[in-house]
Amino acid sequence: MVRAVADRAFLPAKSMFEEVGNMMILTGKTLTAVVRPPYPYGGEFIGQFLFALQLSWFPMMVSTIAFGFGAPGLQAANFLSLFGSLDRLGGFFILASVREFAPLVTAVVVAGVAGTAITADLGARKIREELDALQVLGVDPIKNLVVPRFLSLMLITGLLDIYAVLFGISGGIFAELAYNQPLGGFFATLFTNASVTDLWGSILKCTIFGAIIAVVCCYKGMNASGGAEGVGKAVNEAVVIAFLGVFAFNYVFTQTLLATHPEISVIK
């Protein structure tokens, strides 16, 4: 009886820790495979990069314009219009878009669009036993499949962050136009408040998001099992874990950046 209760509470926790540990091991193996020669992953890297870009460019654009127009655009413009200082919206967009929402929306879209596609792809190969066949042929699946996905997702998430900043700010411009404001004040406060620290913080954060998403999605895809439902279930679990990992990391990173660089939160 006691044992049954203990098992019920203990086993899920144990399996969760095991899973996190396995993902860490996969990360370590991937990192060593990146630097250790030979480097056979060039072609696959370009292929995966284009694959992720082709899948994500349109969802990214719609999502970031919608988010930028709605959340930071209209709500902040509402608030600022009460004080007659709508030109300050540009300065607010440095905080809202560059520091916070652009990386988050990028991570959500990349995890939801490219990450799920990677898990579905690798999961399909796993249950068709292609991965085992590769291993029999002496081809290392980590070096030839995981490493190019890891690197291309890191690169593309960092680059899509800039894309998200641009479209997020254009959402803000639409909000400013919706209030019939001239755009001069918007751009003036935008560029005086912009700082290099914010930009590199944003891009670094996004690159690490890409790494988290890639490791989680590759791990789940390569460990898909269990018949017809297996691949779908793997995608489901991958995207949930990727979201939780990304958002938890985001909190720690933003907190650290804000606390260690007090100059970026000075309004100019």
Binding site: L82, A117, T119, A224, A228, G232
Partner: protein, 265 residues
């Protein structure tokens, strides 16, 4: 390689079909046919509560913390740290909790439905249901929609409370530049019950769309276990974009021309 225009073309092609499918499913709930299988609806509601509740609340909690620290640092920078409650109240209630709820619902519930229904479709279980004289649309899709409508409003209201608690922790306990009393005074002053209702409407629109899109992709899955995986990935991509569009439309309709703030005349 999918090609550069594959995603928008795919969505344009399937959007009318998804709308028709969704309308049919909603009709099955509204005309009461779903109540033939009310037990199944309750079972689906139970699965939602037991399987997805904690994860959804977890994500809302993390984003509530995020709202708190951004609000605290922003209000410090304009020289009014004791007004962090304004930022936290608007961020939590109006924008971020609906988004966090939508993201996690799409990730956990939407893709879960696709995986489940898709595997039923490819192992011909849905055809078997039809042969037995059970309408699969009612038994599989309408019951899930009703189950979601039964549980998610309450889950969302608790999620808002959790977001508030997280923002309080971040602003008052972690950053600590405003007293609890000062924070709550401003925090409650900048929101009122209609705001809560609008936020709930936004979140429930997201929930309805997510369940319907999940049902559509699962119900129409094809191509073996691999097809189920692809359908799951596709449903997630569409859901993410729809969540953002609904969030924007909600903001535009509910708060677009009316700040609903106790400032000025």
């Amino acid at each position: 390689m999918p090609g550069w225009l594959a995603v928008p073309r795919d969505w344009l092609e399937s959007l009318t079909e998804i709308a028709r499918f969704g309308a049919r499913t909603m009709m099955l709930v509204f005309n009461g046919k779903v109540f033939h299988f009310f037990g199944e609806s309750l079972r689906q509601a139970g699965i939602l509560v037991l399987g997805s509740m904690v994860v959804i609340w977890g994500l809302v909690f993390i984003l509530g913390l995020q709202c708190g620290i951004e609000g605290a640092y922003f209000n410090r920078s304009v020289g009014a740290p004791s007004y962090a409650g304004v930022f936290a109240a608007w961020c939590d209630l109006r924008e971020v909790t609906p988004y966090a709820f939508g993201y996690m619902l799409a990730a956990k519930v939407g893709t879960g439905i696709v995986a489940e229904l898709g595997s039923m479709r490819i192992s011909d279980e849905i055809d078997a249901l039809e042969v037995m004289g059970v309408q699969p649309m009612i038994y599989l899709c309408a019951t899930r929609l009703l189950g979601a409508w039964l549980t998610l409003p309450f889950m969302y209201l608790v999620a808002i409370g959790i977001g508030y608690f997280a923002s309080y922790l971040a602003v008052v306990e972690q950053i600590g530049e405003v007293s609890a009393g000062g924070y709550f005074l401003i925090f409650w002053m900048f929101q009122n019950p209609p705001d809560l209702l609008f936020s709930l409407i936004k979140a429930m629109q997201m929930a309805t769309v997510i369940v319907l899109v999940g049902c559509y992709y699962g119900y129409n899955a094809a191509g073996g276990p691999v097809g189920v995986g692809t359908a799951t990935a596709k449903s997630m991509a569409l859901n993410i974009v729809l969540v953002h569009i609904i969030g924007m439309m909600g903001t535009l309709v509910f708060w677009g021309a009316n700040p609903r703030a106790p400032v000025g005349g």
